[in-house]
């Protein structure tokens, strides 16, 4: 049964400090964190550690279970690992030849290894931070925040509708599957034609895909009409309409920006030494 799919998608309900924090500040934080991490030089391990510390603080403030956050981020990390890993066997920079047995040898490049591990750590930091922020921010708040950060009205409206209709689609799929399941039965006694022929099954599935499209369109349209009937004009509204940033919030955003710049300077200084 489709239970509150929107809640399940990325947002995890909690009453933590991070959840309560203004979406604009979280967006600024995420943006600065991503840019800083991307610009950090290779092998700046101490700064990576500092960034990890910030990550840890955010994770603790979100009050979300570590296993949940790790699982989400590591799942995204796997493809990156698969792409980067072969690089360490390239013959470049300083490398050693390893020959575990006769007739088989490969090279291991230390230069590449440092590079790959740096990239992995940084990509994980970025992903993990994004996972924490999105899990602690409602999609509507994120949209309001993006809008406040100057994203055009039309774009946020489209994003908002896409988000809503995605769940319409998913719940339609679930309903169709359940309907089919309820009538997929077996007669007692020996039966060998059970489940129908393969072409027939394919045809049923095709028909369901068609029905899905029609119904989703139809439901989306009805939702849109209902929204219009209640005065929807393309602007997303949440219970708390985004108010102007307080001086304290402005200060926080400036501090976040400065912290990002500081991290970059620190990392480059250490790399230069």
């Amino acid at each position: 049964m489709p239970v509150d799919l929107e809640q399940r998608a990325s947002y995890e309900r909690r009453d933590s400090i991070l959840h309560g924090c203004d979406a604009r500040i979280k967006i600024a934080l995420l943006f600065v964190y991503l840019v800083t991490t991307a610009l950090l030089p290779i092998g700046a391990w101490v700064v990576y550690l500092l960034m990890g510390g910030i990550l840890l603080i955010a994770a603790v403030l979100s009050e979300l279970p570590a296993s949940f956050l790790l699982k989400r981020a590591l799942l995204l990390e796997v493809p990156i690992l698969l792409v980067l890993l072969p690089q360490i066997f390239l013959k470049s920079g300083s490398y050693v030849e390893i020959s575990p047995w006769q007739g088989f040898a490969f090279s291991l490049s230390f230069t590449r290894l440092e590079r790959v591990v740096s990239l992995l750590v940084r990509s994980w930091l970025s992903l993990q931070f994004a996972v924490i922020i999105t899990a602690a921010t409602r999609f509507e708040d994120l949209l309001i925040g993006l809008r406040a950060c100057g994203l055009p009205h039309l774009l946020t409206a489209i994003l908002g509708l896409m988000w809503r209709y995605l769940f319409v689609l998913v719940s339609e799929v679930q309903r169709l599957q359940q309907a089919r399941q309820a009538r997929s039965s077996v007669l007692a006694g020996p039966n060998w034609r059970l489940g129908g022929s393969l072409p027939w099954r394919a045809q049923v599935t095709g028909g369901m895909a068609g029905a899905l499209m029609l119904r989703s369109l139809d439901r989306s349209q009805r939702i849109y009409q209902a929204m219009q009937a209640r005065g929807y004009d393309g602007e997303i509204r949440a219970e708390a309409v985004a108010s102007a940033l307080t001086p304290a919030q402005r200060l926080q955003i400036v501090a976040i920006l400065l912290a990002g710049v500081g991290m970059l300077m620190l990392a480059n200084l250490m790399a230069a030494q």
Binding site: V3, S184, S185, L187, G195, V204, G207, G210, R215
Partner: protein, 232 residues
């Protein structure tokens, strides 16, 4: 025929929809399930053919409803969902009504004949080639009923079959149901229909059974009806 023992179900969001339900239905019995909105009628019916699976046990005939036997039991218990949009999923009415039969491996001629008969019974003869998606609500409800009727299950579990039908359509369904000799379990708000064709009624409120007995006694007891929101 059906034995429900200490059945409880909690939805994913933590809502306790039915609690410690204990009911027995004999073969051929016609029972109406009534109660206010949110009483748990739909939730209970969804357990009868394994769409939902809660705590406690459901037995159909001699068989315990479990993962292994659920497909066998679905051939014996036909369920019609409250909303016909939850029931219909094919491109044409024929495909939809025939689905269960084709899945069971019934031969072609029997299928065509049974589909035609089921559609006629619900007052939608000759609608085989229409698209279920383009039917009116009442027409969809009738086709939804036909999808299950044609499978000739021993038990029919119907969720509000007369809601949204015009008076003539409602009368047609009532006559149809009265003429069936299967075990019949119906969730409804249509007390007139209950009075007419169901000798036994089960009243549910807030997930519990609050009355189980003869319809005449229940409907004469205005206190009982008022207490459970069945009287306007």
């Amino acid at each position: 025929m059906i034995n429900i023992n200490d059945l409880s179900y909690v939805y994913e969001d933590g809502r306790m929809a039915i609690e410690h339900i204990k009911l027995h239905f004999s073969c051929g019995e016609k029972v109406a399930l009534v109660g206010p909105n949110g009483a748990g009628k739909t939730t209970l019916l969804l357990h009868l053919n394994g769409i939902l699976c809660g705590q406690g046990s459901v037995r159909v005939g001699e068989e315990e409803l479990d993962d292994r036997r659920v497909k066998l039991i679905r051939a014996r218990v036909g369920l019609v969902f409250q909303s016909p949009d939850d029931q219909l999923f094919s491109a044409t009415v024929f495909d939809d009504v025939a689905y269960g039969l084709i899945y069971q491996g019934v031969d072609k001629e029997t299928i065509h004949e049974r589909v035609a008969r089921a559609l006629e019974a619900v007052g939608m003869p000759g609608s085989q080639n229409r698209s279920p998606y383009r039917l009116s609500l009442g027409e969809k409800k009738r086709v939804a009923l036909a999808t299950v009727l044609c499978m000739q299950p021993e038990v029919l579990a119907l969720d509000e079959p007369t809601a949204g039908l015009d008076p003539r359509g409602r009368r047609g369904i009532i006559n149809l149901l009265a003429g069936l000799d299967q075990t019949l379990l119906i969730a409804t708000h249509d007390l007139e229909m209950v009075r007419e064709i169901f000798p036994r009624v089960v009243i549910m409120d807030a997930g519990r059974v609050v009355y189980d007995g003869p319809t005449s006694t229940a409907l004469a007891d205005t206190e009982l009806l008022r207490a459970h929101g069945l009287l306007g």
